[in-house]
Symmetry: C2
């Protein structure tokens, strides 16, 4: 693993921070992308054989809040120029998970050895983008204040199934005071391609969350008496759905090690 | 009081429903404007001497959520052409309240006898306009389902004072399921000139409401266990503030008997 200083080598001085970060990952850096290339969109990764890609694409189409597609490759092509001119999806993510029959069989830092001419790449929006907009509006994010991962929960909200892809929506939770929650609805409504407006607030049990103190993914955070839990559709949904489908073969990013793109978060605002 | 059929006299056949309604009120009809001229904006009325109008105008400027101005007259001029070409504010509201030293001294159906050359008229937005948009989106409005007035509450949210005008914000409450509440935030955000987005949801006690079952104005409505109370700034705020200011002289509309304008509710949407 290379130190972060690696990204500031002189030859990268004129590069976008996102491109410099990808160059570092391409050279083998395997660090978390949290806080990297601030302002630039990071994405969840799903790479599937063409035979399964159609059903997955339709799954995303049917469930746009948890699975917003921000980029997609041609079959067999490792490039996605709309997300970065020089981007190579086989090398530019800091860490990958290779899945076989629903199990993670390897966690490499590149997938050159696994690449096939029938693979299709999907890049899905991530809450980092709307969190930037929330923080820019001075809304507090408890998990960041606490220095932990955002708490995530499986819900009783069923995704619309497509082929082998089915399962419950996973949501992330941020506690906010009511007036802040209203403001957060307004802000995140502007970002439909990174999960958009919340899917729920206030009544965890209504969406099948029995114990708000016990997230299914990430870490628990405290909720003050004058706050309400606000729930957004989460990019862990497609990851969980891919795992549950027990596909013969799939590749995703490793948790927290996302694809850094050349899109600006601000560019995702529809208004 | 004239029967509603009065509004359908042949000579009104080619008039806008809003103009026909005002003609009826001008002739002495004193009925509630609820459900009248559907689709057209109705407004709260505040008529003040010029000497007080500046401070009240500033009060509205400082508190746009409870006091959104949708029309204003010149000093001494009973016309507000932007709200209706032939509108005469002295006769076209179905019922008025004349206030002296903070007391209602008369409830006439026109104010010809009270008109003065120093009077300034303010017309303020009303929740009827955003309720139309909520219903168009199939969101349920409990008070309408129950056939009662919307429940309203004095809060501990202080309005910014201006001269003699000061007091707490009054809010109206509509119970909604959480996903409906999120949708309602989006819809009403589009209508800043008729109170806009909610000011609170979920925690009545946080805004000084001790008993949600006992509104200060209007009628109580049931809240289901899977619903949350959603609170909007309310046009009763300026009425309450004017009453509390104990002004030597002021005129407002009588409760439920609003000014019907020629603006369409849809025209108030900013997006």
């Amino acid at each position: 693993m290379t130190s972060p200083a690696r990204m500031e080598r002189p030859s990268d001085a004129n590069l976008l921070p996102s491109v410099a970060a990808r160059h570092a990952y391409r050279s083998g850096t395997a660090a978390s992308t949290a806080g990297v290339a601030n302002g630039f969109v990071q994405g969840n990764l799903a790479i599937l054989p063409e035979k399964l890609a159609g059903a997955f694409h339709r799954f995303c189409q049917l469930n746009p809040k948890p699975c917003p597609i921000i980029g997609m490759s041609e079959v067999g092509n490792p490039k996605i120029p709309s997300l970065g001119l020089d981007l190579d999806i086989r090398t530019d993510v800091p860490g990958y998970r290779v899945w076989r029959d629903g199990e993670v069989v390897e966690e490499p830092t590149d997938i050159m050895a696994h690449w096939r001419d029938d693979l299709v790449t999907f890049v899905l929006g991530c809450s980092f983008s709307f969190e930037e907009a929330l923080m820019a509006d001075d809304l507090p994010l408890r998990h960041i204040e606490c220095g932990v991962r955002v708490p995530m929960y499986r819900t009783n909200i069923a995704c619309s199934p497509s082929g082998p892809f089915a399962g419950p929506m996973v949501v992330s939770m941020r506690p906010l005071k009511p007036a802040q929650a209203i403001r957060a609805v307004q802000i995140t409504t502007r970002f439909p391609s990174v999960h958009g407006a919340p899917v729920h607030l206030g009544h965890p049990h209504s969406i099948g969350i029995a114990d708000i103190g016990k997230p299914d993914y990430g870490d628990a955070v405290p909720i003050a008496p004058d706050e309400i839990p606000v729930f957004w559709a989460c990019g862990v949904t497609p990851q969980a759905v891919i795992a549950a489908a027990k596909l013969p073969f799939a590749i995703t990013h490793a948790p927290g090690l996302m694809l850094v793109t050349d899109l600006k978060n601000k560019q995702l605002a529809v208004l």
